[in-house]
């Protein structure tokens, strides 16, 4: 399709913003924010536009663009979106747009902060829209690396005191500090990318060393033995980013130490990058490998759900609660993918979106609470609902979505996923899933009650706290609005997603 390169503009607009910020906005903090807002606004507007104009009857990849990069190796800059990536692009642009507002108050070195943040977003968009495995990998790496500096420079160190028999060893690593978290996160994710790279190269060679194109590989039936190990490589590689147990430990540390906008983006969008990559490359290219290994994927997804929820219950640091809840919810996503049913897959993709918005909202709120009260310790705070009604309400909405209350996006996602789990070959998956949803309600309501709705804390520091202000309101309203909108009218999202999951399942041979 010739014409306006919409996807390229969506992807590269933040990058252009980052370059402009570096060159034009030295020592002009307000200009920095306006440029960031404008460039992410362009992406948001265009992603809404492509969402609206995507032709559902035609399905498949649309808004196709192609440019030859390294012809002798078959590397092409090839972009396109189907129903799943469409929703992911929308998610990314909403979260980053809200993220720019939420980090309006970053003071220290804000120029570099916004530039790196926008660079990161370009990487994320790139992964969702690329159809060339090589370019996808390229963007994937870009999405990982700025994180090191973002957490290392602007992050916050928590008050973790390692205990237990290995406490002495953990203390030596500097656990809880932002430097530790930044390094851990970066190394884990790069470790994962090593597996992805091997998998991609294996497919490339098996397909005849002529093209990295997803569309061409999709048409090839790979050898089952190859599929089996490449699937595992993709599972480990993308799974690390999706936070699969037991490789999830970077996520609580990283998300708790990261600055607000980065936590929002990372927990909200980057973890979906893992799930998306797994869906696109793992399920999309390796049907035999998928049918062979889904039992493992689904079972570990169940472990994630329960383990994440139990861990979240044990935390005393507000940010860690939210971080562990992400681990739990990503379990739902992986479980949904493993069901290989239409409902399960739709639910899973919907959960990626719902959780992205919800966790983005959570981290924005935690950031706001921390900024006003300078505390993340749950049990020292109390009764904030009277002083900051806006923040309290938003937190409660996010919490209700998190535990899957009807009329929020979380309900639709979990309902579909669990339905899929029941319909799948391993119907017992339903029980850990439901148990997880129950545990979630315990920890979410406990936190909401303690901090916002319970009796007021006696601590004099917490007597006069302001509510959200100016730009912060914008972030909250956008995210709460989307969460409720998609809960009330899930069809907006399920429609396009269905056009992508049904052909995928047909290819997997699950649907007749």
């Amino acid at each position: 399709m010739k014409g306006f390169p919409t996807l390229s503009v969506i992807t590269w607009a933040p990058f252009v913003g980052a370059v402009l910020i570096m060159f034009l906005a030295r020592h002009r903090p307000l200009l920095v924010r306006w440029i960031a807002l404008l460039s992410t606004g362009v992406s948001l507007a265009l992603s809404i536009w492509i969402y609206a104009t995507y032709e559902r009857e035609a399905a498949g990849f649309q808004f196709y663009e192609e440019l030859s990069l390294v012809p002798p190796l078959g590397i092409n800059y090839q972009l396109g979106v189907d129903g799943v990536s469409l929703l992911m692009v929308l998610l990314t642009s909403i979260v980053i747009f809200a993220g720019v507002f939420a980090s309006w108050t970053v003071k220290e070195r804000s120029q570099e902060f916004y530039a790196l943040l926008l660079l990161l977003v370009t990487g994320v968009f790139g992964v969702f829209v690329s159809l060339d495995l090589f370019v996808l990998f390229l963007f994937y790496e870009i999405a990982v690396l700025p994180m090191y500096l973002l957490i290392g420079i602007w992050g916050s160190s928590g008050e973790i005191r390692p205990q237990g028999i290995f406490g002495w060893a953990l203390r030596r690593t500097g656990v809880g500090t932002k430097e530790y978290a930044a390094m851990k996160l970066t190394l884990y994710l790069l470790f994962g990318s090593a597996f992805i790279l091997v998998g991609i190269l294996a497919l490339y060679v098996a397909a005849g060393s002529s093209s990295f194109s997803f569309l061409e590989m999709e048409a090839i039936q790979f050898d089952p033995a190859l599929q089996s190990w490449v699937f595992l490589a993709f599972y480990v590689g993308f799974g690390i980013l999706a936070g699969i147990w037991p490789l999830h430990t970077w996520s609580p540390d990283g998300h708790a130490s990261a600055p607000t906008a980065v936590s929002m983006l990372h927990a909200g969008v980057l973890m979906k990058l893992g799930a998306y990559g797994f869906l696109r490359l793992g399920l999309g290219l390796l049907p035999d490998g998928a049918t062979q290994w889904v039992w493992l994927v689904g079972t570990i997804g169940c472990v994630n759900i329960v383990y994440g929820a139990l861990s979240a219950m044990a935390q005393t640091d507000l940010k860690y609660v939210i971080a562990y809840s992400s681990v739990s919810h990503m379990g739902v996503v992986m479980l949904g993918l493993a069901t290989l049913t239409e409902n399960g897959l739709n639910g899973s993709v919907f959960q990626m979106f719902a959780h992205g918005i919800m966790t983005g909202l959570f981290f924005a709120l935690v950031g706001l609470v921390y900024e006003k009260a300078h505390s993340r310790a749950i049990f020292s705070m109390g009764g904030f609902g009277q002083m900051m009604p806006g923040i309290a309400t938003a937190f409660t909405v996010a919490g209700l979505s998190s535990l899957g209350l009807p009329a929020t996006a979380g309900f639709v996602a979990e309902f579909l996923t669990f339905l899929g789990a029941w319909q799948s070959a391993y119907s017992w998956w339903l029980f850990p899933g439901v148990l997880g949803a129950f545990l979630t309600s315990v920890y979410v309501l406990r936190v909401a009650k303690q901090i916002f709705w319970g009796p007021k804390s006696a601590d004099p520091h917490f007597q006069h706290l302001p509510d959200a202000q100016g730009p912060e309101w914008v972030a909250l309203i956008i995210l709460v609005g989307v969460l409720v909108l998609f809960g009330v009218a899930p069809g907006i999202a399920i429609g396009p997603v269905d056009t992508a999951t049904v052909p995928l399942l047909l290819r997997l041979g699950v649907l007749p």
């Binding site: 002798p72 190796l73 870009i142 090191y148 500096l149 470790f191 090593a194 597996f195 060679v205």
Partner: protein
């Protein structure tokens, strides 16, 4: 042949110029050297593959031309950076320095074209011996003498290995012509294989593959940084060219013999280099060990024993040239300003000299293999070549150890960007050094953003070997 003759003339000019120079400061000679080398580089870019000379012992094929350009480019950068050296001993003895450097370069140029065992060995020694001399250039410093001695002893032993191995090769194949050796290899006589493996051991010392690497960190630490930058790239590239000529060119089917040897050597070199780099506190030592690891990555391309493997390795060498030399130049700039080569000297560099810190970051990212800088393509292409050979396990080892490498590169990045500065004044960079750094940054980013021409050139250079 024109290049070699031109270089010989340049050496004589520098020699005579140095003798007739009045005054203590002879550094200006470097400008003459640089200009001469730029002319030679221009000639190298215009050179066309020609007929073999001297009965086939001297060839000017695509591989020779490609590697000669690489040697000349590395030498120009090394010479430019050396113009910023301020030590009085250097100023007084600059003639020796440049003549030795150019003599070594002459060895490399001949080496790239040698297709005959004796010429190959003579060129190899011509390349190596001046390196020992320059390593001990600061003869009043104990460390420099120690480093030079260590380098010299290990270097001679490795030369002995090579000669010993080559004697077997000659004994079995009855010819010193490499084409004849390749033919003899078809029979796979065990003594011939033994000779070749012994030679590989000797070459392993020169390219600093593990376990033949131990001279590297000490020599790098003690010798002057612009020289080390050059030493870390050019002679190793020459070593690899010899390996292509000796083990791959025209061998045909039996070439798979070298797969396990090269893959094993690559694996241990990557693992050892990367792991030993972690505890280093001195940047030059860190880069020395990381350089060993990079040699391992290049050996992956060698282990692929295919045209694309060799091409990707040549590509890797170019990426490594820009990234590694650039990093050493930044080290030199910081050392000239703060008098320290410790990693802790980089604290807060991003706030003192943002541009210099950004350059260093780009070099480190390139060495670490991150997209949009040259090193990423280099690693990826080498992996691709190995994957085509079915060496997936090697790719996995390499890719995982890249994470280790990024760990220690990021530790330097952390000092520069996250830690608070200890000093406030910016780091002054002399113009010649700044220019060399600029060229390296341009190379790293240029190749990273638009790798196509270089990939094509490398593929063309390697196409004649198989």
């Amino acid at each position: 042949m024109a290049l070699e003759v031109g270089l010989a003339v340049l050496i004589l000019l520098v020699f005579v110029g140095g003798l007739s120079w009045r005054g203590q400061d002879k550094r200006r000679l470097g400008v003459l050297v640089a200009i001469g080398l730029v002319i030679l580089l221009w000639m190298a870019f215009r050179a066309e593959p020609g007929a073999a000379l001297f009965g086939g012992s001297f060839v000017q094929d695509e591989l020779a031309i490609f590697s000669k350009r690489l040697f000349l480019l590395a030498t120009i950068l090394g010479v430019l950076a050396s113009l910023s050296l301020r030590a009085p001993t250097f100023a007084r003895r600059a003639t020796e320095y440049y003549v030795a450097m150019l003599a070594s370069l002459l060895g490399m140029l001949v080496l790239a074209s040698a297709r005959e065992l004796i010429l190959l060995f003579v060129a190899f020694e011509l390349m190596s011996i001046p390196l020992y001399v320059i390593s001990g250039f600061c003869k009043r410093e104990e460390e420099a003498v120690e480093a030079a001695l260590k380098f010299f002893l290990i270097g001679t032993v490795s030369s002995a290995f090579i000669v010993y191995g080559l004697s077997f090769v000659y004994g079995i194949s009855n010819t010193t012509d490499l084409a004849g050796v390749a033919v003899a290899l078809q029979d796979g006589h065990p003594l011939l294989i033994l000779g070749m493996v012994l030679t590989l051991g000797g070459l392993g010392f020169k390219i600093a593959a593990f376990p033949f690497h131990m001279w590297v960190p000490d020599t790098y630490e003690a010798a002057s940084t612009p020289f080390v930058a050059w030493l870390s790239v050019a002679p190793k590239a020459a070593g690899f060219v010899v390996m292509f000529r000796l083990y791959l060119e025209g061998v045909g089917g039996p070439v798979v013999l070298w797969v396990p040897v090269a893959a094993g050597l690559a694996t241990i070199t990557i693992i050892a280099g990367n792991l030993m780099a972690i505890p280093q506190q001195n940047v030059k030592r860190l880069l020395a060990y990381s350089g060993i690891a990079h040699i391992g990555y290049m050996l992956i391309g060698f282990a692929a024993v295919s045209a694309s493997g060799v091409a990707m390795m040549l590509f890797y060498l170019v990426a490594y040239l820009f990234g590694n030399m650039g990093a050493f130049f930044v080290v030199e700039a910081v050392a000239q300003s703060d008098g320290s080569e410790a990693i802790s000297a980089y604290k807060g560099l991003a706030q003192r000299s943002p541009v210099l810190a950004l350059c260093m970051l780009l070099f480190l990212l390139s060495l670490g293999g991150i997209p949009f800088v040259a090193g990423f393509w280099a690693k990826l292409l080498v992996f691709k070549a190995a994957a085509e050979q079915g060496l997936y396990w090697l790719v996995l080892v390499g890719a995982i150890l890249t994470v280790v490498a990024l760990f220690y590169y990021l530790l330097v990045a952390k000092r520069m960007y996250i830690d608070a500065p200890e000093r406030t004044h910016p780091v002054p960079v002399s113009p010649f050094l700044a220019f060399s750094i600029f060229v390296c940054v341009a190379g790293v980013v240029g190749v990273g953003v638009y790798p196509k021409p270089l990939v094509m050139a490398a593929l063309r250079a390697a196409s004649g070997l198989f």
